[in-house]
Symmetry: C2
Subunit: 975 residues, 2 copies
Amino acid sequence: ARDSFSAYNSKYLTVPQNRTSWHRSGTNGALEIINNYVEGTQTRARDKASPSGLYFRDSKRKVDYVLAYHYRKRLARHVPGAASPEPRRGFASVALVSNGSTGKGHAEPHPLDTLEEERRLQREEYERNLLEAGLEIEKDPENKSQGVSFVRIHAPWQVLSREAELLKIKMPTKKMYEITEEKGILKTLNEIWCKLTEPLQPQVPQQENTKMKTLSYPFSREKIYFFSEKCFPQPETLCGSLLTLNIVSYTALSPLECYEMKSVIMFSVKSCLFTTCIFLFLLGIGTLIANNVYDAAYPLHDVCMHYEKIQSSLLYQEWARYGVFYKFQPIDLIRKYFGEKIGLYFAWLGLYTEFLIPSSVVGIIVFLYGCLTIESDIPSKEMCDQRNAFTMCPLCDKFCDYWNLSSACATARASHLFDNPATVFFSIFMALWATMFLEQWKRLQMRLSYFWDLTGLEEEEEHPRPEYETKLLQKKLKNKNITTECSNEVRCTLSFNLCGICAELIHLLICLQIMLAFSAVFGVIVYRITTAAALSFSTNETTRSNVRVTVTATAVIINLVVVLILDEIYGAVAKWLTEIEIPKTEKTFEERLILKAFLLKFVNSYASIFYVAFFKGRFVGRPGHYVYVFEGYRMEECAPGGCLMELCIQLSIIMLGKQLIQNNLFEIGIPYLKKLFRKLKDERTEVKEMDTNQSKDPQQWDLDYILEPFTGLTPEYMEMIIQFGFVTLFVASFPLAPVFALLNNIIEVRLDAKKFVTELRRPDTVREKDIGIWYNILSGIGKLSVIINAFVIAVTSDFIPRLMYQYAYSQNGTMHGFINHTLSYFNVSQLKAGTQPENSLFAQEVSFCRFKDYREPPWSPHQYEFSKQYWAVLSARLAFVILFQNLVMFLSVLVDWMIPDIPKDISEQIKKEKTVLVDFFLKEEHEKLKLIESFIAHDKQKHRSGTKSRRTRAASFSQSCAFLCLLHGVILSLE
Amino acid sequence: ARDSFSAYNSKYLTVPQNRTSWHRSGTNGALEIINNYVEGTQTRARDKASPSGLYFRDSKRKVDYVLAYHYRKRLARHVPGAASPEPRRGFASVALVSNGSTGKGHAEPHPLDTLEEERRLQREEYERNLLEAGLEIEKDPENKSQGVSFVRIHAPWQVLSREAELLKIKMPTKKMYEITEEKGILKTLNEIWCKLTEPLQPQVPQQENTKMKTLSYPFSREKIYFFSEKCFPQPETLCGSLLTLNIVSYTALSPLECYEMKSVIMFSVKSCLFTTCIFLFLLGIGTLIANNVYDAAYPLHDVCMHYEKIQSSLLYQEWARYGVFYKFQPIDLIRKYFGEKIGLYFAWLGLYTEFLIPSSVVGIIVFLYGCLTIESDIPSKEMCDQRNAFTMCPLCDKFCDYWNLSSACATARASHLFDNPATVFFSIFMALWATMFLEQWKRLQMRLSYFWDLTGLEEEEEHPRPEYETKLLQKKLKNKNITTECSNEVRCTLSFNLCGICAELIHLLICLQIMLAFSAVFGVIVYRITTAAALSFSTNETTRSNVRVTVTATAVIINLVVVLILDEIYGAVAKWLTEIEIPKTEKTFEERLILKAFLLKFVNSYASIFYVAFFKGRFVGRPGHYVYVFEGYRMEECAPGGCLMELCIQLSIIMLGKQLIQNNLFEIGIPYLKKLFRKLKDERTEVKEMDTNQSKDPQQWDLDYILEPFTGLTPEYMEMIIQFGFVTLFVASFPLAPVFALLNNIIEVRLDAKKFVTELRRPDTVREKDIGIWYNILSGIGKLSVIINAFVIAVTSDFIPRLMYQYAYSQNGTMHGFINHTLSYFNVSQLKAGTQPENSLFAQEVSFCRFKDYREPPWSPHQYEFSKQYWAVLSARLAFVILFQNLVMFLSVLVDWMIPDIPKDISEQIKKEKTVLVDFFLKEEHEKLKLIESFIAHDKQKHRSGTKSRRTRAASFSQSCAFLCLLHGVILSLE
């Protein structure tokens, strides 16, 4: 590691500071350097009228990054009025230097002051390192007793180019090439599609020529003549104004490509700041923030975040408002403003929402099919038929009476809505839909990474998390006296200790949490059983008749509340557990956090649904031999219409409730309240400070500082993934799930967009090629959904028994007599003493009551044993599971195999790009050959003319350099 | 496409020919250039004593590639003695020019001559292009009337370096870095493992320092000072001698790395030759060979392929002989000699063979468990017990008698060997084993691609197949008169036509072929049914008693023969079908061919086994209601011990037969016969030509020309993959399969090795990162095996009925009475007229006979319907399938997830490499800074001293160039 330190030191020492940027724009090489230099100066001068707050005081250098911190001067203690810390102050820019820094320094040092002093030293050291790394810094004088101060950082051209080279960032070259278009019918179809969707397209200024793509190549300063000149003349002025995504300035300056460099490198700058610190002091900016040395670190929003100004910005107009809910998202714009990672999230969300449209349509059709066939459904007709007097066994001991099956007519009819053959089709459809969605996502991801020049992007080197390094440092310091072994050893020991102690603890805690979720479900079950029993004791007739409805409704609501509360708890627990683990890098941290959070939230959301689908009503026993829990409470049964109905209710309420409350109420309401609160507070503060501050317009960094910090995409993804689970896992029981998901997502997209544009500090751009672990989770859910749907159809629904009846047991091949077939007989005289209904109101004398099961009748030698039908139906159910699972899995594999991961046009394009690149290189090499000849001639001439003035010589020297550099590849091949 | 032509033209024009190679070895830059140049010349002179046949006539330039062709002079017609074409001539090098090329040219042109002339022109044009591309060529004079002539190609340094740069081939740099070793226990374990396996390691000279790895970086001529000097001084002399894999010369010249460049670039040379032609004439070397313009194109073997010499080569000693069968393979050596693709095949084969060892051990243990428990197995005891007089229903109509179950005692006992609970464990084990194997392969692949510097290797640009281009050209020429549209259009039309007509045809043909395989299986079934019936008519007592054995044995052998014949046919059919399709690139050709061949061979190998496992004996019907086929033939039943026994026999015979006959007999015997034949023929020819040829020692190219051409790895992989299927798919029925596979593979490895070293022309080295589509096929087989094993255990074996009996039906929880439970009763009086046994020898009067099924007894109201037990057992079987499938799949996913694809040490190494690379670059940049200062001083001095002699000026100029080039990155960042 020590070698790395010195290497990093030397890295930054090689780049001298405070030089004017190198500047080049002509195609004819070094001869134009001087001309262009003059031009460049003019460009600068032109740019004085740039938006306030985005530039250094010279109005030339752009603010690329801001560090904010709170300062407190020692003398502050003597000003009693401003003692309480006020973290959210408006701004603290260049104001009157009323309190000089040479104030009353004679007060004795206070512990808080020592801490403050230490932080100041740390800041100074850190900023010195930034300067050494070649960055440029602007600070405001700390002219108040305490307040927020901003360190504004500008990354000049040489830093950007150096980082771009090290990170092998692809940059546009001079070369453009044509994108091959489809021919024939495909082209026509494509054109028609474009025409049709034109009103849905966001109105974003396109590149002038969409049929051409600029060839990109990993940036290299040595091959600088390859690259498009658009990016070189003073990127901070030309590209800077591009960042203002205001329509007017945007369309005026068309070439978007040069922005790419700036955007893409912002991450690298953060990483470079980070790296510097890590290697020099084992402390990153993250640690500095964690230690309150700094408050915040963020790049600036490029639109003024005042509410009045933002509305005119392109991103807001075309993306972040509800009015454009029907439009596609301007993904390229999002990516340019927020970086690839966030761009990918919105692209994914968009694709998911689009994919929900067909599934919603099919879901509605399936539901309508259920509605339309309800009248012709023989089993529900038979059930409702008063003439079929099926006397059912009592639903509870002693207090419940025998009842007539036709009284459950309503539930039977409702049940048919979701329990019909179309549902089977729909769940196969949805399993394939999930596969198709994942495949299409892979293709879209590939397409985006091609157009965003991410192909061939290698994984970034991973930096250890500051927390990890701190821990390591502590451990190291502690161990220093004991042992002098290398840091690697320490790292080993540390992680070994962590493994040993924490891993066990963490597994235990996760198990405990999962137990908690299960026990919550169990609690609700107990609530249901006891309430149902209690209500049935009631003498009130209306109470008793509505037992089932009351119990189900209250239980589901309790369930929902528990889910919502546990969700919040689990989010915190997962984070805490992952922090205990101290994973080495940010990436492992994120992955582990996601896995833990997903596991916990998944269990939490679905446990009650799993219970209803697969366990409820399966351990009831039979009349005369019921299963009792807690001394005397019978296990709960499903409604006579089947458990599928209850599953549907459970699923729909939890899904809708979660979406409405968690996504919309929490996401809209809470930020609104926060804003309101902050506004009120600000107003009060402002009144107080009005006199001390000759306030200018607030600067951009002040405005951004007020915003919430960006905390990652995990909650956004998590929300959608849990929803994806609702849409796919139990779709057999609730075909309308995609519809509700679609409605939610249309709002969600704009809600998230608004949040990102107006309520959060601008996030650091992160380059990423894919959505990482989320893809695996999605594909896991997809696979699980096949098995679960197979079981729901086979076990929970009545699909298989109906099929069996129709084709095996029915006399005439119709469903007539199905209800009778599914009901077994029970001899009432065999009811245990004390469990008979007390005050039976039933008219006729009941000798046999019926119950829903396949059991031998009382007159059979094997009384009440499972009948042959039971086993036959069970076989059929299981066979269906095997068939369904393997068929759907096979189809999924087939779909996966049939749809290539890389779209054909993109793969052809990539191949073409390679060929064009080789050609381009060879052409350049050819040109070099010509140049060398002209240079040799030039060189001879120069030598002949003898010595010149010092200035001319320097110019000719730099010319030679540039020329020679161009030629040197050729020289090597010539020798 | 026209642009590309000119670009490619200009590409080759930029590299002037016939220059001496640029040469550099010092670390201190350009100052040493001249010194080294002198050194280089000395090195050349030293190398005169190089092995004959590997060099041009100057004994300096190495022969990198050879093109062979047949020539026939026009005057040949007038020499009657040599009229018959003799394709396998010994050699035709510099001999007496007895027949001058200015011979009797007055003969009228013959059609054959015109063709010959055309070919000669094509050759001339092609060779001119090779020269233009910078390659160097040596030819022998065509001094005989007809014969084989060789074009020997040498790729000089500038071509190699240009290609390396274009292909971004990673080359060793000057920088070495330490490989992090394991610490603590792991290290000790590793050392113990190394000690233990030392006798198993091949004795190959290692790099001097195995703890260091050279840092590699994509080669660039501009950054040439980065790269290890080992490779630059005259690679053709230094590295050339390395290629002679003779131990003596090998150990004398230790640095292996420089070989890497040579080896790796050979492919690119081929591809470059290829590309040139493709773009210039739409004709590649492949097409030229197809058109008989050339006979063959191959690189040279680097050991003299005479049998006496080869034995002393390292590859032969340590790899390609049976004596070292117990050793690991020298994979690095294989890769260096044959390239990455073949290296990966042998690495894969080695890993597979190693993985077969544990599964063989477990298989043997499972088998032994069966053997040991055979005495304590109650069902087979009961079956053999003479006292349990189960009178079974006759096995055929009329001619068969009732029989006693105890007569089938032997098969019952044999059946237990494979049908016991250990088998269930073994099939779970094998499913996980397959997953583990695939995971480990992924890891090994990653490790190899790290050590072979293939990480970050992009996919090569794909060249269209010559056949495709020819077809295109034909089409184009045909269409030229009709339309003048662009070639793209034509390509579209062509492929469109092909799609329309051929795709349908091909699908039809594949279906037909699969039908053929099924009909073969069906034919064997019919044979079995009829023969069994015919034999049972026989009056001979011994014939009748051995019916089953006779029929099974003959049927399986017929099956085997059919499989072997169809295998050969299918190989040819798959190739033919793929050629009809005219896939665009070699890669798609290979993939489609593999898929087709695999599909056909898979169906062929396993159809009969599938039949026995899942269909045989399931459609027999029941006594009194048998299923008849072909008027009067009853469907065949399984033996009383269960179908598993028959499955086992079928499987073992087909597997062993296929391995013995196809792999060993065909692979050893046929080449031997061919060799013998060739030898005999050669001897005859040689005697004839002795007088005309003053024969020197045959050159290497002559010797290689005699060898068989290399035709790809597909058959080798296919053989192993089909074997992998035998090992995993039905492992539940034949636990010894891995043992036999292991024995076969131990031979197979050395057999293949021998073939590659001694019997084939040296293949072009192909760079590949993975085994491609084979991995997908393997993983597909792995997944299929889970389902098939689940069904074999549940449906074919008696495992589930036994379990059900023991835990549900048995009175006392033991297996006593199981046989009785599985046999149903049949009332003999209900046998249809004419189907009763004619001359029953059975002592007592039979009123009920028994048959193996779960059916209601004759005295039940639902006579002979499936009983409740039947449905219960069926449910259990299906439940087992679901449980087994999902459990094993879950475990596989878990194993997949737990074992990271990239070994931890390798991923750390890769990260470290990146850091080291960045450091290295930064250090170089720092050094540049120092150099620029010294240069400026130097430059001033030079100007002061005024003009010098022309020679010195040129030297100083080249110095300046080199310096300036080194500095120019710094210059840019300085300005």
